[in-house]
Amino acid sequence: MRHFFLKLFRRRKLEQDLETELAFHREMGGNLGNTTLIKEQAFDLWRFTTLENLWRDVVYGIRGLRRHPSLVATALISLTLGIGANTALFSLGVEFLLSEPTVTDGRSLVYIRFNGNSHADRKSFDMALDSHVFADIVGEHEESFVNYNNGVETRPIFSTFTTKNFFTTLGIPMQQGRGYSVSDPDQVVVLHHHFWTQHFNADPNIVGKSITLDGRPYTVLGILPRNFRTLVGFGFSPDVYVPAFLENTYLAVYARMKPGMNLSQAQAASDAIAKRIDETRPAAQRDQHPSALVDAVSGIDRLKGEQVLVLAAFFLVLLILAGLVLLIACANVASLLLARASTRQREIAVRLSLGASRARLMQQLLVESLLLSLTGAACGLGLAQLLNNALSHMTAPTPIPMRLTAESDWRVTLYAMLLSIVATVACGLLPAWQCVRESFTHDTRSTARMFLRRAVVVGQVAVSIVVLSTGFLFVRNLLRTSSLSPGFDLQHTLQSQVNLPPANYKEQTKIALFADRAVNALAALPGVEAAAAARIIPFTDSTTYGSSLYFNGKDQPLHARFNWNAITPAYFQAMSIPLVAGRTFLQSDATAPELPVIVSTGFVKQYLQVQPAAAVDQTFYWGEPVRTATGAQPSQRRAFRIIGVAANTKNMTIGESESPQLYEFLPTIRDVRDRLRFVVKSATPPATQLKAVDEALRRVEPNAGIETRTMFASIGFAFLPSQIGAAVLGSMGVLGLLLAMIGLYGVMAYSVARRTPEIGVRMAIGASASSIFKLILSDAGRMVALGAAIGIVIALLATRPLASFLVDGLPPHDPVTFLAVLVVFAITAALASLGPARRATAIDPMSCLRHD
């Protein structure tokens, strides 16, 4: 091999040497005989021949393809779309699932969940830190908000609170400045690149200046690089990083293992820490088997857990479907090349009889398709890059900031190369093989080629049925989703997120007071029909409780799981959620001996099994009785009374089935939190009220971070998965259908041309135009029917894993979808074969007969 390359570069010199040597020999009186043969043998020896042949094939291939610009254009468009779609999806999948966090030596990092809790309290964190089994431990609280004041107004921004050793221990590179360290003061901040460019116009002098967060000056220490990837992954990217100096911050625990430590040792060490943490707790709250969950942060080990598996499955399905579309595109190109092969019949036959080897001819034909698919892959890679660039400038409209910076790295390029090789084989092998094989069997060639082309079409139809039915399934999913109601009014409502300055709002009474004043201020606005405060707006957040409820003084608890919310009285009115029974909260309820709650119809149906009206006035205790030495002390438990039953709403996804809900009265809850939401129902279009609502809230608390959006804008992302699914899969289905129909048209047109004499004879002996028409259509019909039958069977199997992406009540084997796909297919197939069929009926029998 080394010789090969050496000689390759010295080829000219070798040739000259050879000439000189042979000339010398001749001069000395030697008789050389066939000089050319010697040269050829020497060249063969130096392996120039293979290379030269290849080069000749490339040149010949380019020349040949240049003569068929329409073929090249069709093939390139098909391949570019096919490979581009595949590569873009692949790079997105790689970025989403396989991207590594931007840290130094991610392999030695582990994520520890003590007793299965995603976040540990400060005491547990400190115990883990003090154990010194790990090289170092950092903590972060990802989903935090701080109020950022840009000099004009205050807005909540997404921040991550971390321990101060976060940047130094993880070894996070900085674009500018530095990360904070243990020796820094509390009020420092590190900006994410996107926040820096959006809010500071990428000001290069920002480092060292201070910005206002939560009403206090924070010094900017550094800026993270543009492609910084967080420990959490999945494109999660907060706006700023701030040291978590507050006492009550819960932290996700990440530990750097000591050199030589492996995962199982880390597991054992963490279990020991979990045990010690558990021992500090009161006896009643102790765990039976204290343990810790230890997970790798980088590498393939990160991809555990059900959620990730579902996502991975989704990407896999997307990739497979995109691969199928590419296959259809390849089948088209193969069909075109097959047609072209028939025009070179004579050329191939002559070359074979002159002694060209079949392998040599195959090589030449394959080089042609390699040229096509390599060009297609290059264009496809470009297309994928364009798509990715467009994507990386977008923020997913999810409640948690997500940005994917997909880049064409070596994996993506490799994938595109692989695709192009697959495409070469898929496009070229069949025509090339057919071409070379045929040349000796003259009488059967036409039938054989026709059979092959028909087989290709049947395959195409089958594959595109699969792609189309998947696409259609998701379009139907989207339609179903859009027609689904979330259970509350999206069109006439606005919602505000308000982050109160934490220092001034430490008690629930203060927060409730603010809520009261704010609701009054909002209700007084012109055009506002109702206003209410709530802890949670469905879809933007969810708090589910799994609790034991002791109903009507029973000893046996009811283990209930429900979505929780805390609201003010006008919530149901503002959200247009009907009250089915009972009443909403009254201000006087705040001091009632039994705390009032409102439950949803779903709650009543699932847990009480009575009519909604019968649920009203039922009472229950929430939580386990606190056992002391003297036995149960029910007086320490809180008693609740159901005062009303409201209609169900959706909470997490639009497609979910009815889940139980429980509302508490905002002033009565014990859980203090300085984040509140407000809902406003407006008689005028909600977008016109944005400013008024914003200002009204600011007047009540000037230091709060406030973000007001229309309800539709703020929960639009709930429709996102089905929209993305429908858009991507639907367009792929259409693309597949289109490609398959082009293939069908080509084959039918060719078949009609081939059968012209036959049709002429038929017409001459009395066949009517309509019977010829029928003949051609039924020919096409047979191919489509066979392909469709195969396709439906595969599609039924292939769509089964998609069940988890579809809304309730839409099974993957949805008969409407498959029926519709068949109808669509039948119509388009009829359209595709109509042209050739018409042409067949227009054949003049006389000219046909004379021709033969």
Binding site: E21, F24, G33, A42, L45
Partner: protein, 110 residues
């Protein structure tokens, strides 16, 4: 990636290597040497000599340098390498074994 030499090719290789044992020679001289040493029985076809030389060079059994011939012309001189000597020894043994075996067969009556 040497091709498996057939008997004739193998013999030519052996002869070339043998001719080069005593010192470097150019292509024409190699042919002459073989011709003379065989008492003018063997005549090396030039058409097979040069390809054989290039193959041996590619295999590393011989090396080549450009020099001046006795009549002051630029000529390519071939030398045997250590690898070539080893090959020569091996092929020599093979040849002896083969030819004596053939001889034995032919000298006996069937």
């Amino acid at each position: 990636m040497p091709k498996a030499p057939n008997l004739l090719q193998g013999t030519l290789d052996l002869l070339i290597l043998h001719a080069l044992q005593r010192g470097s020679l150019h292509g024409y001289a190699i042919a002459q040497t073989i011709h003379l040493l065989s008492d003018e029985v063997l005549k090396v076809e030039e058409g097979s000599l040069y390809p054989a030389l290039y193959r041996l060079e590619l295999d590393g059994a011989i090396s080549a340098t450009w020099g001046l011939s006795e009549n002051n012309r630029k000529a390519k001189y071939y030398q045997i390498t250590r690898k070539g000597r080893k090959a020569l020894e091996e092929q020599n043994q093979n040849w002896t074994r083969l030819s004596s075996a053939v001889q034995r067969v032919l000298s006996r009556e069937s």
